[in-house]
């Protein structure tokens, strides 16, 4: 199931559809491809960690319900690059855009009003 295409991996568990859509839009605007997989695990930390570990470029996002986390390969589980509970749509876009920018080796954008969870 794991393809070797350079893409952002998104592991989801009962993900909020709006949040997922905005995250995907953020990635698409950066001209980067993404792959979404439904998982059994409900822990958003584990989802993001595994997604980053499995993505060829080491960039992953986990969405569990209304929790969104972004990870990069090499960081410990739980030490997310960003983790938001009930993020705004623009924050979802930024998370998507940042996970794509990781693959392009570009600096990450600041998440406006951060509510780190």
């Amino acid at each position: 199931m794991i393809s070797r295409r350079p893409s952002v991996f998104i592991y989801i568990h009962q993900a909020d559809a709006d949040f997922l859509r905005e995250v995907l839009a953020g990635i698409e605007e950066e001209n980067v491809s993404s792959e979404v997989f439904e998982r059994e695990d409900a822990d958003v930390n584990a989802l993001a960690f595994d997604a980053a570990a499995d993505s060829m470029m080491g960039s992953g996002i986990g969405i569990s319900g209304v929790d969104v986390a972004m990870q990069m390969r090499g960081r410990r589980s739980g030490e997310n690059v960003a983790r938001l509970h009930m993020p705004s749509f623009s924050q979802c876009r930024t998370i998507g855009s940042n996970s794509a920018r990781v693959m392009k080796k570009q600096g990450l954008r600041d998440l406006d009003p951060v509510s780190q969870g």
């Binding site: 605007e29 950066e30 990069m72 960081r75 080796k105 570009q106 990450l108």
Partner: protein, 607 residues
């Protein structure tokens, strides 16, 4: 024999330095300790005492002794000069009638160029068939809505390009049935005029626009007459190097470069002269050097340079507590520079590199009130405090403790406000000079050329080498070396240019490539310190010929810089001069020269 402890204290513009030595009678038996702290308050004011006390405490604490054990404190007779800097742009660019957009959104979409009539997305239904349109969309419309509406109208209307306010160009383009060039992130979409003709261009990936940065390209797309083509030339020029652009044909639309009245500098000197600021730094510095001894420098009233010099005069007056008439600028250093300035009337926050000139000026003041400081300090510590020796002479004495030096010796003291040179001969006579321009001017140039908001960041960039964080586990240093770390670097630094400071990584917020920052930094240092080092040493050299100097020791704060001494070394090799960073007492590096000289000169004085 009687042992006494002597402390030398040097109050500089930025640091206060202390050196403590032990004397057996009249003979220095050994140096005990030293310290350096940030100067409190302006150099030469009572506010300095606080810093002096903490420096003494820190130095004595290091050897487990108390400040009260000191028998005599010797303060430097500070050079009666203070420096200041000012910057002024000489040109300004104005866009009238919102005639263009030229910027680099991170992700424009599509590629190619097109011309058409501007049509607001809200008025899409008013469009007529057969006319090519460029549609502009405010940020209140989402990408799905926009794409759907454009696809629907496509059968009826000829839509050739789009301008978006939101960062959604790729999202919209991916949903269009027919691919067209799209420019996004245009902040002032409300100022785009409906119904005017416009041309749009998005470059292929990895390329810059070609059509709109070429006057004939604009003429081709917008069907311009030869006369009109002439007027769009500045627009084409300002669009060079962009990945996307829009040019709007408006009757009075224009982009203008205003040349501001720069004014003339009047040199009241041995050979009085005047020179226009427009002539550029090289010509100005030539005039300064030809003028001989300078008594005062003023600028033409109500011009850029006039304002600059009067601003310097005013702030110097505040520092020294003297009236305007008593302030005499006795030296200036002019440096050409380019400043990225926000274009007035711009739609997407475009900037333009404007010509600017930076000036450092040096003001001769009356003696700074060191005696007052000595008296206050003496009362506070119940210790004898004396003001002793000319700063440059003390610095030379201190510099002589550098291993491998001999008389005659030239020193180059590169501080924050001024560059000073002195030459000390075998018979003990000293020639010295103070030149305007040093570390602070370098910071100002870096700040201006990078368009930084504050001076602090510019100072950091001046002081530390750069690196680019390329992954969470490695970075590329500015010298090309790769550096790997064990623990993951904070993702905030990922993909960014950072400074390697003692306190860890510091992010450079400007989106400028590392190579460019390095170039600006090194060029600023070269412009100020190379020019001044040669100017200052030529002044003190026998017969004003650099070849008559054999040894130069670099001291002062800027000599501790990680690249300035090497730059000077390279330059001076061609004159056959041995030049290097001082190593005071063989341990202190280029700092502490004056404080050490103060302790040393005590022995000479007693005899």
């Amino acid at each position: 024999m009687d042992l006494s402890i002597i402390a030398g204290v040097d109050i500089g513009n930025s640091t206060t330095e202390v050196c403590v030595g032990e004397y057996a009678g009249r003979k220095l038996s050994r140096f005990l300790t030293g310290a350096s702290v940030t100067t409190t308050g302006t150099k030469g004011t009572l506010a300095n005492i606080h810093g002096i006390l903490s420096a003494l405490k820190s130095a004595m604490g290091r050897i487990g002794r108390d400040v009260s054990d000191i028998d005599l404190i010797r303060l430097n007779e500070a050079a009666p000069v203070i420096g200041d800097t000012a910057m002024e742009t000489l040109t300004e660019t104005i866009i009238t009638d919102s005639s263009m957009i030229g910027h680099n959104p991170s992700t424009p979409a599509g590629a190619g160029q097109a011309a058409g009539e501007l049509l607001s997305f809200d008025n899409l239904d008013r469009g007529k068939g057969g006319t090519p349109y460029i549609v502009f969309v405010s940020g209140s419309h989402g990408y799905e809505e926009v794409a759907a509406a454009i696809n629907q109208a496509a059968g009826r209307l000829d839509i050739v390009g789009m301008i978006l306010q939101a960062d959604e160009a790729v999202l919209v383009e991916n949903r269009l049935n027919r691919k067209i060039p799209i420019v996004d992130e245009v902040k002032r979409i409300d100022r785009i005029p409906d119904g005017k003709m416009a041309a749009i261009e998005v470059a292929l990936p990895g390329q810059f626009i070609r059509m709109l940065s070429n006057p004939y390209g604009i003429a081709t797309l917008l069907h311009l007459t030869p006369e009109e083509t002439r007027t769009v030339t500045p627009i084409a020029k300002s669009l060079i190097g962009n990945r996307s652009a829009v040019v709007i044909k408006t009757p009075n639309g224009d982009i203008r470069e205003n040349v501001l009245p720069a004014g003339e500098i009047y040199l009241n000197a041995e050979h009085p002269t005047r020179i226009s600021l427009d002539e550029g730094a090289d010509r100005i510095m030539k005039a300064v050097s030809d003028a001989g001894r300078i008594y005062d420098v003023t600028g033409q009233e109500n011009t850029n340079v006039g304002n600059m010099l009067s601003r310097i005069r005013k702030s110097m007056g505040e520092v020294s507590g003297e009236t305007d008439a008593d302030i005499h600028i006795t030296d200036i250093l002019a440096v050409d520079t380019l400043a990225p300035v926000l274009i007035s009337g711009a739609l997407a926050g475009e900037t333009c590199l404007e010509k600017a000139v930076g000036i450092a000026a040096m003001v001769r003041t009356q003696q700074l009130p060191m005696r007052q400081i000595a008296q206050k300090l003496s009362e506070k510590l119940s210790t004898e405090v004396r003001v002793a020796g000319v700063e440059a002479v003390m610095a030379s004495l201190g510099a002589l403790t550098t291993p491998g030096t001999t008389l005659p010796l030239a020193i180059l003291d590169m501080g924050g406000g001024s560059t000073d040179a002195a030459i000390i001969r075998e018979d003990g006579t000293v020639t010295l000079t103070h030149q305007a321009g040093a570390g602070e001017l370098v910071s100002m140039l870096i700040q201006t050329e990078l368009g930084l908001e504050n001076r602090y960041m510019a100072e950091q960039i001046k002081k530390y080498p750069l690196a680019k964080v390329e992954s969470l586990f490695h970075m590329r240093m500015e010298n090309g070396e790769m550096y790997f770390v064990q623990e993951s670097i904070d993702p905030r630094f990922y993909g960014r240019v950072v400074l390697l400071t003692e306190a860890g990584l510091v992010r450079v917020e400007k989106d400028v490539p590392m190579e460019r920052i390095r170039e600006i930094r090194r060029e600023a240092k070269r412009k100020v310190f190379l020019t001044n080092a040669i100017r200052a040493l030529r002044y003190v050299a026998p017969d004003h010929n650099l070849k008559n100097i054999s040894n130069v020791v670099l001291v002062g704060g800027s000599a501790a810089d990680f690249e300035i001494p090497e730059m000077l070394m390279e330059e001076f090799t061609s004159y056959g001069i041995v030049c290097g960073r001082g190593n005071i007492r063989g341990t202190e590096g280029p700092r502490n020269a004056v404080a050490t000289g103060l302790v040393l000169s005590y022995g000479g004085e007693k005899k």
